[in-house]
Amino acid sequence: MNWTHKDLLDIESLSIEEIQHIFHTSSRFIEINSRSIKKVPILKGKSVVLFFAEPSTRTKTSFDMAAKRLSADSFSLATSGSSLKKGESLKDTVLTLQAMKPDVIVMRHNLSGSAGFISKHLKCSVINAGDGWHAHPTQALLDGLTLNQVWHSNFTGKNLLLLGDIAHSRVARSDIKLFTRLGCNVRICAPRTLQPSGVDTWPVKVYNNLIDACKGVDAVISLRLQLERQKAGLLPDIREYASRYCLSRHHLCNAGPDVRVMHPGPINRGIEISSELADSKDSLILDQVESGVAVRMALLFLYCTGNKNEQEIQED
């Protein structure tokens, strides 16, 4: 498949065929990542800027490792070490970066729409590594790849529950778009204060009782709760939140027989998911991390090389 997109800003812009192509390409990189020598030269000479204007451990490391395994040169930039700290505008910062001729800028930013904003000003590709509450397409794709492997590419009719702070979650927004597109029945479960405005127009079934929400589910993705939500008046306290919404084994008693649990991390154990469940055989949390490197390798490959085909992966 020729890759014609300049940027990856959100899930909406990808067709089902393109999503499946990303899964397929990623699976080839999973194989490479299982080798003893995990480096291939297919992006030698390419430059990837990792511009993380918001703190990140796993996404940034995942992209960095993905770039290095493909032999691309990766450069990291954070707000604290950039001229943004001196008051430079985001536009001026990225235009400066562009003048250094990178092939891809991977950006995380705390403001919704910021990846789309910089893409309008840049000729190089932009991959959105999370913008505000808006989108986190690479997380959705790695979640999708993880379940693609477990469910053998059959998403149709599967019941997927997203649990927790949906309103402020870019992961939830991107996951909902991805999994509904793939054919899943998506549910969300959250207190009303953590449900997004206009949720009644979303293609999801809304619950506020976790026991009910888990009936018949095939997978649950528990989401990170920012502890500041309590100070913002959205929750009485974290203990009460945990008592109602911390996913544990007993919630899954009426779930599907092969139910799996996931979490994008970092986890607040005992608040979003019980420690026992996070570490259980049903947990795919570390599989998600593994999928993340492969998905990001696939995306860097597609966005750096455009119309190169899979044959070249094999040849490399």
Binding site: S89, L90, K91, H109, L111, S112, G113, S114, G116, F117, D131, G132, W133, H134, A135, A167, R170, R173, P196, S197, G198, V199, T201, W202
Partner: protein, 426 residues
């Protein structure tokens, strides 16, 4: 006695000549009239004649933010948009909470636009707009302020707002309130609803406006003291105002052209040019506001002209300042309402000239003998593209940038003096 004749113009669908004597309206003579060579004439070239527009809500940014707009450029844009008077809000730097700032604004007006358009400063209601203690309202009135308002930083303290209304009424001055509950609106950047949820942006609920509107209405009733509600944006507020007017509570209200033509969809794609406070609402709200201006519940259309430099709007949506530059385009946008049959041209003259003049004590031009010769010539068919070049405001932050509008101010007369002409008489 100096006489000026504006020939070949339409007034109330009648073609004729407008005669101005000694800087006031003398008469309108229907049909062709013979002119002698000594007459001072101006060919109106088939334009429609309307009273000079009065904008009760603008931000001219001087002093303090002259890179966005200054009094010279702002009044230039006002002239180009057909305005003879504008009322400038107090959020300058320093804030217009003392007579020195008020006088500076008036002096700049005199230097740059001695024949108009005229700026009428709106003094701060509280010192430094902080909502904690009253500004020296009598001093501000004496210096030339026309009303008082905290506008973008509305007073949340109900007791202080009550006292401000009472004190202002002693001075026979009106308080203008930007209705917003700052707790409900905190950190919001667009209308709260389906689209804010979709875009992942913090929303501002309509109740942030309507609850404060309710407060103001109840205080106006309790004190039997008038209050004017600024830039109303939603259906709930309209319903409250309608109720208040039925009860003869002394409340008046304005809305803006952008709330009458655009809804929240304009912010799709994180379009910062459509970021304004209060935010653009839903189609339902647009329809309610159209009905409100048609029925007279809302009696004034103001621009809330809020110029910002391009680099300030070229940022991620949440970081962008609120505001639409409105003076250049307001009339053209509102003429669409006339073409759509929402209101007629007479209604529009009321909303943008007669009603604001009456409310704030300016002379009213109904083209009767002795009325002020503040009028504009409008080519109703003229299509013009909104561009950086065609806008006279320093700032070009409007959602209709690049669009073609119909209806153009071709000349602007204030006190019988021509302050702008786009008519080619060569």
């Amino acid at each position: 006695m100096a006489t000026l004749k504006i020939t070949n113009v339409f007034l109330n669908d009648q073609s004729g000549t407008l005669i101005i004597k000694d800087n006031t309206i003398d008469s309108f003579v229907q049909g062709r009239m013979s002119l002698d060579s000594s007459d001072n004439t101006f060919d109106g070239k088939g334009c429609t004649i309307m009273p000079g527009l009065i904008d009760v809500h603008v931000h001219l940014r001087e002093p303090g933010f002259e890179y966005k707009e200054d009094i010279n450029s702002g009044l230039g844009a006002a002239a180009g948009g057909g305005f003879s008077r504008v009322m400038a809000m107090a959020n300058t730097a320093p804030v217009n909470d003392n007579s020195a700032v008020t006088k500076l604004m008036l002096e700049k007006n005199q230097v740059h636009h001695p024949y108009g358009p005229y700026v009428h400063p709106v003094g701060a209601l509280t010192r430094n707009l902080q909502g904690k203690e009253l500004a020296p309202l009598a001093e501000l009135k004496d210096a030339g302020c026309k009303a008082f308002s905290n506008d973008g930083l509305p007073v949340q303290d109900n007791e202080l707002f009550r006292r401000a209304m009472e004190y202002a009424s002693d001075l026979d001055m009106l308080v203008i309130d930007h209705c917003e509950d700052s707790y409900l609106a905190a950190d919001g950047v667009m209308n709260e609803g389906r689209l804010s949820g979709y875009l992942g942006l913090k929303g501002i609920p309509t109740t942030a406006e309507s609850m404060q509107a309710a407060r103001d209405i109840l205080l106006a009733a309790y004190l039997d003291t008038p209050v004017h509600l600024a830039h109303i944006s939603c259906e709930e507020s309209v319903e409250l105002i309608a109720w208040a007017r039925e009860k003869s509570i002394p409340v008046t209200a304005e809305t803006c052209p952008h709330y009458l033509v655009w809804d929240e969809e304009a912010v799709q794609g994180y379009n910062t040019l459509a970021k304004v406070n209060p935010p653009l609402r839903t189609k339902k709200d647009v329809l309610a506001l159209r009905h409100a201006v048609k029925s007279g519940v809302i009696s004034i259309i103001a621009t809330d002209h809020a110029p910002h430099a391009d680099f300030e709007k070229e940022v991620p949506f949440a970081q962008a300042p609120n505001g639409i530059s409105g003076l250049d385009t307001a009339l053209s946008i509102c003429l669409q309402l006339v073409r759509d049959g929402v209101i007629n041209l007479s209604d529009l003259c009321g909303l943008m000239s007669h009603n604001p003049a009456q409310l704030f004590g300016f002379p009213v031009n109904r083209f009767s003998k002795g009325d002020p010769a503040d009028f504009i010539l409008v080519d109703m068919e003229k299509k013009w593209k909104v561009t950086s070049e065609s806008m006279l405001s320093k700032s070009k932050n409007t959602p209709c940038l690049g669009q073609t509008l119909q209806g153009r101010v071709m000349a602007n007369y204030i006190g019988g003096q021509k302050v702008l002409s786009r008519l080619d008489h060569s």
